[in-house]
Symmetry: C2
Subunit: 263 residues, 2 copies
Amino acid sequence: MISTSSQFSNRSQGYRPGAAAFPASPTPALDCRDLETQLPEAKAGQRRELKPGESLFLQEDRIDSVYVLLEGWAFRYQDLKDGRRQIVDFALPGDVVGLNEAANAPYGIEALTGCVFACYSRKSFFALVGRQPAMGLALVQMLARAEARAIEHLTSLGRRTARERVAHLLLELVTRLNRLNLAADSKSLDLPLMLSHVADALGLANETVCRCLSSLRKDGVLVLRERRLKVLDLRRLTEEANLSEVEDDETAVTAAPVRRFAA
Amino acid sequence: MISTSSQFSNRSQGYRPGAAAFPASPTPALDCRDLETQLPEAKAGQRRELKPGESLFLQEDRIDSVYVLLEGWAFRYQDLKDGRRQIVDFALPGDVVGLNEAANAPYGIEALTGCVFACYSRKSFFALVGRQPAMGLALVQMLARAEARAIEHLTSLGRRTARERVAHLLLELVTRLNRLNLAADSKSLDLPLMLSHVADALGLANETVCRCLSSLRKDGVLVLRERRLKVLDLRRLTEEANLSEVEDDETAVTAAPVRRFAA
DNA sequence: CGTTAGGTTGACGACGATCAATGACGGTGG
DNA sequence: CCACCGTCATTGATCGTCGTCAACCTAACG
């Protein structure tokens, strides 16, 4: 192989030189976590706390509430009869679960870290959101981003190689965490993921994920160890991810992060 | 080959003997096509007609309208730079596209058959839907079904074998067409799909799809030839599909079809 | 008829799954 | 303190599913 690990610095500089001029973010600087801080009548919303590994609900459970994830990471998954598991997506603070589903959920939700959810009845959730136009807009845009992610995820599983899938998922998570201001800095952040989570999200075996990560490390793209991800070469990572033809500026790592109200 | 076409009848009988007692469908007997028939003020909605292979919009196009598919089949897809294509889902009459997306769509929509769409501005669409509670409910349930399909699709690509994927997709389409009363009978129906569509939807090569279909035919499960699908053994097909742990009754083939208003 | 698009089948190889062994780490109890 | 254990990460060896390449077939059409 080619020696790859000796020249990080010249790569990590200069990513997207033109990106300094990215447009001012048109997204409202709030998300559904702000229901509570914005609207006093939302205070009634009950809390639900989960420890890592606990479930918010199970596949087939009846869902009558809407949950806003306030803190922590969770994931949606679907199990097959033979024990195979597919992780559908990861939920980060500000994400809403239980919104679209009628009657019985076709999937379960499990906490990855300690989680805090705000619980609303469907009716009161919509009433609250409707009370503030900016909140409705934020919700619609959040759902649109979730759908875009779902489609990219589908494309990953259908048409990307193992290495591309791993790169793509990590890039997605870096992007989302940066948007939320949850990254230590824009290149280094904590991911509460085990290999098996990545594998179950990407339709791969643990060993394959491990090999891809080793190989990406060997090539100087990133380092993922002990729940900590360092992106060494963001441009390379973006190339490795093999994004769809046209990638929204919205989803670029450099997008303006959400500014929190009442921090 | 083995002769496969000689014994349909004994198989197609007797599927789910207990299913005669399936509950009365709680779903409202209408979908977004009924916006026009139900609400005179919706007549203003413009039409857009597409021939097979034409695009409603392309990946990256700016979407400002909501489209209700009135007739025909279409599909959403995403392309990678290297030319690989992933079909995200198929749209059937009554489905709505352009609803969730903010700004630029991360995918394109292409007509599979001749298609007729009703076009609404986002605002007027929501205004119309809001005018009739049953319509809002129908819309929410349609979206919930679409999401459930998306998750099953994701699970297919991530965790099902090629044969399972093919069986699963065909079962899904049979189910949807039956619900819409678009099947000649419940076991035989027209699918305007080429091998490449199935392959692109399932993340497989054309040849692999072809082999799976041959093998399913050899095993007496189904016959797909010349755009016509005959399900010979629905129970077997369901097993082959390797459904997720708990399958909603809602999605069973035997579910009550939508009753159309003002046919 | 020739041409083309799509479907079918075979041969072969590659990517990733599986199986297995080992290592690193943290917790627990002696 | 250290042996013991369980969990998870890592690496190697081997195997199988499915992708790729190629040839051929069929039907539609000009």
